[in-house]
């Protein structure tokens, strides 16, 4: 498995690409990690970093199932919310916040299996619809479990919190872990299986890919990361409310970040999250949900013109800058057009 992952020819004709991408990510990470040392008192900047990294981590996590395997879920708020409440309750019980995040992730991942095993058998769009049902059902349920969740009044959490620098750094670390996981999965045997099943579930299955298993692995991997992010978020806010952490807006934010950034690419969600949070932050005071309008329009444009999102655009711009012609699919020896698929009819 290791040997294979190192040798997969993902970037066609550019065997250096995965390594360059990893180096770039490492450099960027180190650079960003130095920010608190340079500007320790700039609360605005540290908060901006905190939220952006949190979105980056979640966008990357969502993309594992949504992008690689093509199963678009509108229900990740359930994982975020479960993570947030797990951390909240453990923190109130005296745990140090940092120790609660893995537990938050595990709770979310466990829930993702309960939901995923039956729903991931549904084909694409039906899975998406089912996840909306699951997400909203969880929100309403949590709103009604007042003894545990505080219901409509939410839960106030301990007031003694770590510093802004701590939050910034932890969030950056989450993003880095999510990036490493997303990049590793993409280059690994698991990623190959996920991409194969996205393109043709039946063909992948008949070639030995355990599609049900892989879908669930991808789902719970994403759920784990998003759950941990929910925990970190709860610590930061010192307050949890079902309507915020289980909100449909949280779910669709992740969908939008991954789609607009670039479905199934490693850098896409990073780009998507940065732009998403920048627009949201810029418009927050004047018009709280305007970023969703902007993103709705962007999504329409992307679906119509650039299915690979911002990452695809960036790649195109990069090629143009270097003067290289856009890579075309090499034609067959006879130069023939791809022939029509074989004829139908049952044998």
């Amino acid at each position: 498995m290791r040997a294979l992952s190192a040798r997969l020819p993902w970037a066609r004709g550019a065997p250096w690409a995965p390594r360059a991408s990893a180096l770039a990510a490492l450099a960027l990470g180190i650079l960003l990690a130095l920010v608190p040392a340079v500007a320790p008192r700039d609360i605005t900047l540290l908060n901006l970093g905190f939220f952006t990294f949190l979105y980056v981590a979640q966008g990357l996590a969502w993309n594992v199932l949504g992008g690689y395997a093509g199963y678009v879920s509108f229900g990740y708020a359930a994982f975020f919310g479960l993570g947030a409440y797990t951390t909240a309750l453990l923190w109130l019980a005296g745990w140090p916040p940092l120790a609660t995040y893995p537990v938050a992730g595990i709770v979310a991942a466990a829930f993702s299996l309960i939901v995923g095993v039956p729903t991931l058998r549904l084909v694409g769009p039906y899975f998406s619809i089912a996840t909306i049902g699951v997400g909203e059902a969880m929100r309403v349920l949590m709103l009604n479990l007042d003894r545990i969740t505080g219901g409509a009044s939410g839960l106030n959490l301990p007031t003694a919190v770590p510093s802004k620098t701590w939050f910034y750094t932890t969030s950056l670390l989450f993003a880095a872990v999510a990036f490493a996981v997303a990049a590793w999965v993409r280059g690994s045997r698991v990623g190959l299986g996920l991409m194969a099943l996205r393109m043709d579930l039946e063909a992948a299955e008949s070639l030995g890919v355990r599609t049900a298993l892989f879908k669930n692995v991808a789902h719970s991997l994403g759920a784990f990361l998003v759950g941990a992010c929910g925990g970190l978020y709860a610590t930061f806010l010192q307050y949890v409310h079902p309507d915020t952490v289980f909100s449909f807006t949280e779910s669709i934010s992740l969908v939008l970040i991954a789609l607009i950034g670039g479905l199934g690419t490693v850098w896409g969600p990073v780009l998507g999250a940065v732009v998403f949070y920048a627009v949201q932050d810029y418009l927050q005071t004047s018009y709280p949900t305007f970023h969703l309008l902007v993103y709705g329009v962007l999504l329409i444009l992307i679906l119509l013109f650039e299915p690979k999102g911002l990452a695809g655009l960036a790649e195109r711009a990069w090629r143009r800058m270097r003067g290289a012609p856009a890579r075309l699919a090499p034609a067959g020896p006879s130069g023939a057009e791809p022939a029509a698929p074989g004829r139908g009819g049952a044998g």
């Binding site: 093509g70 678009v72 509108f74 039956p118 729903t119 058998r121 549904l122 694409g124 769009p125 039906y126 998406s128 619809i129 089912a130 909306i132 049902g133 699951v134 909203e136 059902a137 309403v140 349920l141 709103l143 009604n144 449909f248 669709i252 969908v255 789609l259 018009y287 949900t289 305007f290 969703l292 309008l293 993103y295 709705g296 329009v297 999504l299 329409i300 679906l303 119509l304 299915p307």
Partner: protein, 294 residues
């Protein structure tokens, strides 16, 4: 709580709600049936229909019921144009592309509405909003009876249109077998445009009716949309008569369940039913007695 009069009054309420639910879901069923597209912008058109009704009411003192009628041609045109400009372009890609496109459209509609009307609750109060009529010894709000009446009338009209007009027959033929439809000379592009127009028009029409019963905001369509999904899945997705059955099932289950649980949990029933129905009976309720899956 479980007294006989109580059970009967809940039954009446459930029946009335079933009518509303059916009307609310026809648009979704038409679009799914013909185009095999799950219209995630349904909620947006329910909402927009409601707000347009408010606009007609405020500008011209147009009664919401007349507003509903006016919405039909207005939104049919809007749906047609949207199909031609946007939806048509993603019909050849993966099914998920159309789902996402319509989802994006919902986001846009919702936030445009927010920009225009703000996020406060809106409502339309007519002369008859608070009137009630006695039915079987119970006092039933007039608005609910009106909505039910309109629902029945719509059902009749829809039945007539689907059964006796060329467009209706073409629609049904396409639902049953798209390829055969093409073979007998039905222009699928045209029929899809008609279906999307009709679906949009019905959503807006239902949105108008909702204003008689509920207050509304730019994001009020969501729960209704999810319930509509539940209804068409229960109804078997491709079956217009199934919509009525699905609506009745959801409405009765919801209404009677509330006798045993917190009212605020009511929506969970619809959402849970949606997930369960998708998984265990992709052919709708009818599947349960036609044949077991081999």
């Amino acid at each position: 709580m479980l007294t006989a009069p109580n059970l009967i009054s809940v039954g009446i309420a459930a029946l009335l709600t079933a009518g509303l639910y059916a009307v609310m879901s026809y648009g979704l069923a038409i679009i799914y049936g013909v185009m095999k597209v799950i219209n995630l912008s349904h909620a947006g058109f329910l909402m927009l229909g409601a707000f347009m009704t408010l606009v007609y009411f405020q500008r011209w003192h147009l009664d919401p019921l007349l507003g509903a009628l006016l919405n039909l041609p207005v939104f049919f045109a809007a749906g047609w144009v949207l199909y031609a400009v946007l939806v048509r372009r993603v019909m050849t890609s993966l099914p998920i592309a159309s789902l996402l496109l319509l989802f994006a459209l919902w986001l846009v509609l919702q936030n445009v509405a927010l920009a225009i009307w703000g996020s406060e609750d809106q409502s339309i109060i007519t002369a008859y909003t608070y009137k009630a009529l006695p039915v079987l010894g119970f006092r039933i709000p007039l608005t609910r009876l009106l909505v039910f009446g309109v629902a029945l009338a719509t059902l009749g009209v829809l039945h007539f249109v689907l059964g006796h007009t060329y467009v209706g027959k073409a629609l049904r033929a396409t639902v049953q077998d798209p390829q055969a439809g093409v073979l007998v000379g039905i222009d699928t592009e045209r029929i899809s445009a008609v279906a999307f127009g009709l679906g949009t028009a019905f959503a807006a029409f239902a949105g108008s009716l909702l204003t008689l019963l509920f207050s509304f905001t730019p994001d009020f369509g969501g729960p209704f949309q999810l319930k509509s999904f539940t209804i068409i899945v229960l109804g078997g997705l491709e079956n217009f008569a199934g919509v009525t059955v699905g609506a009745a099932i959801l409405s009765f289950v919801e209404s009677y369940a509330v006798l045993f649980m917190k009212a605020s949990l009511q929506n969970v029933i619809a959402y849970a039913l949606l997930v369960v129905a998708l998984i265990v009976m992709p052919g709708g309720v009818a599947q349960l007695w036609t044949r077991s899956r081999s």
